[in-house]
Symmetry: C2
Subunit: 137 residues, 2 copies
DNA sequence: GTGGGGCTTCCAACCATTGGAAGGTCAAGG
DNA sequence: CCTTGACCTTCCAATGGTTGGAAGCCCCAC
């Protein structure tokens, strides 16, 4: 099938399929006489794997490792789990960072009248004289 | 003061200060006869404002708006609050996305033995035949 | 055989940031 | 005075993942 159909069936855009091929995440697709890329059901299966890994937030480098483990029937599930757990840790750290931002902003927003007057704890906080402890960094 | 000192005092790297100048987030710095950029305390104050806004996850375009409001003594705090609340909403959405990933991964990881055997619900889930409902998309 | 849609490659942009190269400046110390 | 090393300048490139567009070829249906 053509790349467009593979894109439709896998959930990955044709642009990205070409990109993944270019960077070596997937092997070069077969080509028809016309030069058109030709995809099999197995290829689409692999693309769907990539789609789901991406939806779970894995980076391309990790997806590459996951693909390797997927293909390897003798894989050790410990390796997969280790990858997943590292990723979970990273996601949690990110969530914590974002949550800290939300907490700060909410506190400030709660104290801001949000009317026509200029006084605003949000702006005041951003413009406060010190950002870092005087000696640190 | 030189750009390096301004960087140290503001928490923004010299590279980024030049970049922010280039894209117009901050006005072009004064120059010494040598061509070196010259920063005042007020400039550093502004850079610190940017640093804190950035630490709260605001995008450069929003920081630009915030800077405008900061400079405007007649600002309406409602505008600041609206910006902040939009940002909070965006952050929350992001957190929810990441949390959904964590939840999925945790469920799968909990069911994975993580040993030398190949069976692994994580890999199985990624390789499952359907990603999207057959007709959707 | 013509039109429209799909395919090809290549190049650029996004966002914020970092790195490096090549060359000029400054200040301290010999 | 000269060297040394730290600092500054500009410019160009890369990151990561994705999207957009242009120019040109292919395929199918009418």
């Amino acid at each position: 099938m053509n790349i467009g159909e593979a894109a439709r069936q896998s959930g990955i855009s044709a642009k990205m399929i070409r990109y993944y091929e270019e960077i070596g995440l997937i092997p070069p697709a077969d080509r028809r006489a016309s030069g058109y890329r030709d995809y099999s059901e197995a290829d689409v299966h692999e693309l769907r794997f990539i789609c789901r890994a991406r939806d779970l937030g894995f980076m391309v480098a990790e997806i590459s490792e996951l693909l390797g483990l997927w293909r390897d029937r003798g894989r050790r599930s410990g390796e997969v789990k280790a990858l997943a757990c590292e990723h979970i840790t990273r996601l949690r750290r990110k969530i914590d960072d974002l949550q800290a931002m939300v907490d700060t902003l909410e506190t400030l927003a709660d104290r801001c009248a949000g009317d026509d007057r200029p006084d605003c704890p949000i702006i005041e906080r951003l413009g406060a004289p010190t950002c870092f402890p005087p000696t640190a960094q």
